[in-house]
Amino acid sequence: MHWLVLGFIVIGALIIGTRSTGPSSQEDKVQAIARTIKCPECEGQSVATSGSASSKAIRVDIGARLRRGQSADEIRDYYAAHYGEAILLTPARSGAASLVWIIPVVAIVIAIAALAAAFVRWRSAADGHATDEDRALVAAALADPHGEGSGR
């Protein structure tokens, strides 16, 4: 009962919270795109965080392109064509680069499946009865409480 109420409250709050995203400002949109573009002259920083001259120029250019009505993907495609694929901090979703997106997902799915299979195997192996051998093991362990691994 309690859980049902909590569930409804959570769903309600999430609906309200995700509905009122509101239009983000021009500058926030520029930042969002700039974060995915690498600064051409500095090492390992995005255009959004770098203070270099070319980064500033690119930020201004992104703003101008947004005002001309270009979409984020169009702007990114332009920069990839102009500077090469390496300027994009998010690898493409097609071709060899897409492997970086696909491999982890496949790996996680396989790992979950393997874990599930292990549980199924353990369940089928369970008989729930202690054998005489088990009892002997317990008795031996209780007789020697300070054996290796007793933790103290």
Binding site: L6, V10, G17, F119
Partner: protein
Amino acid sequence: MNAALGRGGVILAFISALGGVGLLGYALLTKQRALLTQVTRFVGFVAAGAVLAFAAMERGLITRDFSMQYVAEHGSTRTPALYNFTTLWSALEGSILLWGLILAGYLVAVTAKFRRRLTDPLVGWALLVMLVVAAFFFGLMLGPANPFRTLSTVPLDGPGPNPLLQNHILVAFHPPMLYLGFVGFTVPFAFAIAALATGRVGEGWLVETRRWTLFAWGFLSVGIVLGAWWSYEVLGWGGYWMWDPVENASFLPWLTGTAYIHSVMVQERRGMLRVWNLSLLCATFSLTILGTFLTRSGVLDSVHAFSDSTIGPLLLGFFGLVVLVSVGLIGWRGDRLRAPGRIDSPLSREGAFLANNLLFAAFAFVVLLGTVFPLIVEAIRGDQLSVGEPYFNRMTMPIGLALLFLMAVAPALPWRKASTETLSKRLIWPASIGTAVLVFAVAVGASGLPTLVAFGLGGFAGAAALRQVVLATRRQGWRGLVGRTNGGMIVHLGIVLIAVAFAASSSYAHQRELVLAPGETARVGTHSVTYLGMRTIVDSAKTAREARIRIDGGQVYAPSLQRFPEGTSEVGRPSVQSGLVDDVYLALVEAPANPGGQARVRVIVQPLVLWLWVGGGLIAVGSMLAAFPGRRRRGTEPVSAPVTVAGPAPTPAAPDEVVREPVGSSLRTATDP
């Protein structure tokens, strides 16, 4: 003189390490146990050599001995005393020297701790492994990473360390902490190899090294948080984590190490996951080596890649050796590592630990893949691509949320098997608090599905951890705060704070670049900033041009551009007003050409950033509490609550909250030789 002393120290340490390896190897192979105790001398000489080398380098830096190449390239007469001292670890050779010193420290500590058991082959093998690692690092200092090269023509002055490494106090703490963590994982790794070599693969070595692992893990965690804090305070872009290769290199061993300190409990309790735990430890240690390779060899672009060096192939070779030896030994001992146990139900403590390990392994895999993927693509296809922050954020976000959920549920799960009634009873309050946090977040205007879910789950997980702490202290008084389980819950609280602060600060940052004339005021978010004017401050090391900016009509902050005499360009130094609710981050982008001109200032308002550092502090406190011995119990005390055969699992005494020591593991030692 300094260079000669230092080089003498390195040679002494290297030869002693090799000598120790030889002695131990001979004694272990010929089974002369009495001979094993002689290793103390070699360890002593390694430590003496390391201290001598470190002291010689510091002396060279402090006396400005520019006949030493390292001092001439990284020191200067103008550098203030503190940053002059920290110059030792501001570049490659000195960092390796610090690594060697810390490793020597761990060697001494392990030898002292196990001084009465030096004749035990397990300890002998562990010391042998540590000495091999020490020999490798001191060997590096004899060859490609020699910190004690001398110059024939002695310059009058040097350029000083990288400007970014001499304007914040955290430079004195972040690298040593990180290295204490990195190098600390050598100890459990050495015992893991020793367990494999001796065939004593039971739980004994795990228990012996439990506090060492915790120690290393705590330092690594704090080191990483301090590194994030340093980037935030110094780099001027308002962020603290950008998935830079060096950050990833420190984060990878943290991920596998965290998986290990959880899964080790399953092995102590149930004797299972032996191969997995050994693999995690070997992975953690080899990842510290791989991380050092990735960041010090210049193969990856990074703000931390200070220098190119020929050290790369050697580190890569050592990494390969570590992996080969680990895999080989685990394969060789495969028959002894097979555990008879099984896990009864996924809905149990051990089931939760398995899920935790799956998630941490996946997390580590994503980070590793993202870091090395550009290298792989370039090697295979010859073209370049980048994998940056947006990729890591998107890929790790679902894993992070799943981990938060697990943190909420797992502490309430009993071992073996949970009934839904038990779970429902134990989780209703934490879940209610999580819901309340979510509702509160929505009420104050938070939006965005992943961020809201992070808040809700953060509240849930935080309340679950608090519940455990409250129950334990109610039952045991102050002892309810110490011991692994209770200290662990404090660490969980710290992690929850960091997760919530990360979600909030990265989702709701407002950034504006303002051009302001003196006296002009602008608004960013809910804050107002007023530019008052410029001021120039000159000291021995640098010239700083400060923009004086008043925030919210209150205190004045002074982000600056600093020019170091040797530097070609100015380095920004941000200034931050930290608050419980949000931070106002000021970075001077462009100073005005004339005093009355306009200054260009970047203002970033980010919520909850302060709580990242508070979370880091809680992790440190929790790690210390966890290392403190918990309640002692007699070996004959039952470790599990009585189980009734029929009906639902008994719950009245909340049996899982009793502090348990791994007594039950003696059960499995029957299978050990």
